[in-house]
Subunit: 457 residues, 2 copies
């Protein structure tokens, strides 16, 4: 149990580029013992990073050298993009043997991301008991608490003493590998409270568990979405939490380290979605990357053509006043940026639940005022630039009015579009960017060119 090597005390933590280079060199020189010696002192998480850093050919050699270690310890740390590849290289038999040894939640974590065919093959190769356990986990919806939880936990009755509890834990083998609290349950296995380990440890043996437990613990329904689970862990500073079924019976426990991964995933998702990348990963192949990006760029092409159609309405005006063509990107670009600012703050405030029905009106009003004030300021600036550049006061007036209009529209679009998506249950991060910039492009071009046609000809 003791002396499991983690990062050495004196060396910098993590995987250094020099270490990666040494491994690559050893692989190139076909020095397999050298590879093993370099990899063995590493933490499994760092080995996973190492696997990700290598070229496909080197990667296969490395995986062959440390097959056992990879299958059992490294697979859970490996990113989704490479997992399929590594699982296929290891072979379903070896993977199944390794998964049978893992905690059920880690095994599910590895399995759920595999493609359907590999998943079924691995499941068939598993021993019956482990297969049933994993299938029970996979029966919970994707991204739910049921998939995140571990099935082992410590549950005891409230009438036990601290001494009895400690003796029970010393004698029983069937306990989770890691746990931070003891659950107190009633005879029908419904949680009545929890005792943090540090409290149990500091209490004298004769004291009753019921007297030191936290009653009314925060419990997570098994169907709860992982994003919601992460919210509760963050909001209430949880280290672990019990998971209950529909009859409020304790069926598992979620640990904070798995929630930390969820928080990372969800933050990444929002970032990627706002940038129109959907899911993404730098370890994807060229074909996957091209395909995913193509789809979003296609949507963007549609909105760009829409903007061009608006411009084409004023083709004759542009022929006469070419300054309009020169200045029109400024109006659209400023609107697009102001809209993106408001939208990003809104999407984030929705994710962190700072924006609610209670304060929506107040926040919308504020954004409107901010848009108006910045619209005025930039209207003055841009009008001055236009007037000096093209020597026309009227042109300055046109761009000023168009700027104010577009900045106000940007503020409204930036907050109302994500709010609208959210109210209809659509993730506001997914499509807000394209809608907001379409609005600011169309309004920007229309206002500027329309005013130009009206006032300058």
């Amino acid at each position: 149990m003791a002396d499991e090597p983690e990062a050495p005390l004196e060396e910098p933590l993590g995987l250094s580029p020099e270490h990666v280079q040494s491994v690559i060199q050893a692989i190139d020189e076909n020095d397999l013992d050298g590879v093993r010696a370099l990899v063995e002192p590493l933490h499994s998480a760092d080995v996973a990073d190492l696997v990700e850093q290598l070229e496909p050919d080197e990667r296969r050699i490395l995986v062959d050298v440390i097959r056992g270690l990879v299958a059992s310890e490294v697979l859970p740390y490996l990113g989704e993009a490479l997992r399929d590849d590594v699982v296929e290289h290891l072979g379903t038999k070896d993977v199944a043997a390794a998964l049978a040894e893992l905690d059920v939640d880690d095994a599910i974590d590895v399995l759920e991301d595999l493609d359907e065919e590999d998943q079924q093959e691995v499941l068939r190769a598993l021993p019956a008991f482990e297969r049933l356990q994993i299938e029970a986990g996979l029966a919970f919806p994707e991204d739910s608490a049921g998939r995140l939880m571990q099935r082992d936990f410590v549950a005891i009755p409230a009438y036990w003493t601290v001494g009895q509890t400690i003796d029970y834990m010393r004698q029983t083998d069937d306990l989770p590998d890691e746990f931070y609290e003891i659950f107190v349950v009633d005879p029908s296995h419904r949680p009545m409270g929890t005792v943090p380990l540090y409290r149990a440890m500091r209490t004298k043996r004769p004291v009753l568990i019921g007297d030191i437990m936290e009653s009314e613990p925060i419990l997570i329904p098994a169907e709860m979405d992982q994003e919601e689970v992460a919210y509760h862990f963050q909001q209430y500073d949880l280290t672990s939490a019990g998971v209950v079924d529909e009859s409020n019976r304790l069926i598992g426990a979620i640990m904070v380290d798995d929630v930390v991964d969820v928080i990372h995933e969800e933050a990444e998702e929002d970032l990627m979605r706002l940038a129109g990348v959907g899911e993404s990963d730098i370890f994807w192949t060229v074909a996957e990357t091209t395909k995913r990006r193509f789809l979003w760029l296609l949507v963007n092409l549609g909105t760009a053509v829409l903007a061009s159609i608006v411009i084409s309405l004023f083709g004759a005006t542009i022929e006469q006043v070419v300054a309009l063509a020169i200045l029109m990107p400024i109006v659209a670009s400023m609107g697009g940026n102001a809209g993106t600012q408001t939208m990003t703050v809104t999407v984030r405030a929705l994710a962190t639940r700072d924006l609610t029905v209670t304060n929506t009106f107040r926040i919308v009003s504020k954004e409107l005022v901010v848009g108006f004030v910045n619209g005025l300021l930039f209207a003055a600036l841009v009008a001055a630039i236009a007037a000096v550049w093209f020597g026309g006061i009227a042109l300055g007036g046109v761009i000023a009015i168009a700027m104010i209009i577009n900045m106000i529209v940007a503020a409204l679009a930036g907050i109302l579009i994500p709010l609208g998506f959210d109210r209809f249950g659509v993730d506001p991060a997914v499509a807000a960017t394209v809608f907001v910039t379409t609005v600011t492009d169309v309004v920007g071009f229309f206002a500027f060119l329309g005013l130009g046609a009206w006032l300058l000809l």
Copy 2:
């Protein structure tokens, strides 16, 4: 110790909009007992959310009703934007009295975000001992491990038995409120290992601590940046970690719940920076919000004017072929979006350390190929649209070539600009967006209009 009310078992977790409405109604009716009754069952984190939801006037009334609770329990959960306001309303004396009761890390967390003047006032009002402790914490650089850590931890020698350790913890009052591992230190207080509580709890009394400890624990230097701390917690699935000074002596411990907050903060920072909002908060006042957004929009205005100057070089061409003015936003917009996609993936990969010196060349090559392939596909699409719309094959050819050029440039700019920032130690999220879109705008307009002037006239 027991029965601290958290979220009730049967009710939905968190703060419901209906609950907020009831509080507002009670405040409006001046029913202060009603307010108190509604607030008292809530978790402090939810009370903080409630404070944030209210209008300034209502907020002050609520804070007055629950002054003691707010000062001691709620302040650490309150967002930065409102903390100054609430601290000023509570008065520095009450705040100081409350801070003296908090853990040092929580007190520092509250204090460090206050404006300089309030901070000094509160510090002066603190009892000498607490002031010195907090000032010692504030002496660590902002966002460092030293500010995140708590000063209390359990440290014992390796020659103690499990029984001695348990007895020590039962007898000593001077232990942290919450802890998940016991540190094993040598006589000069350097950490030799750690024992997770669940392991100590499951081991029989006569066993030596030295025999069950994890040697080579992951330790955090006090000056380490919190982003790096968060990386280590995530990478190695930590629940707590010891903090050491320059001589490798144990001086504190960081708990995962504080790291979860850091992960949220850092993810938010990247998101906001990429959108050009810098720091932001929906609870900021109109003046603050306007000012911060103005600065970024001003930078954007500069780049928009640059793009306009490029267009103005081809004013004569546009006058003759107005279709160029109509179509030019398509080339720029597609480039901008493709560049933003690549840039976002790059910024994220740098933050998660997936993009390293080892694989930079491979990933850059991949992005180049993706940009080229999508460039070809969209060149064909856009050429067809242009040819049909304006009936000119030559125009289609011009936009096709410009599109391919700009998509390749977008891919290169999207990855090389953030990489360059990162190599020079600048946060790639801060300014990458504006640089990338400037490049794609300028190149897009120049390539399209330049080719148009050359081939169509």
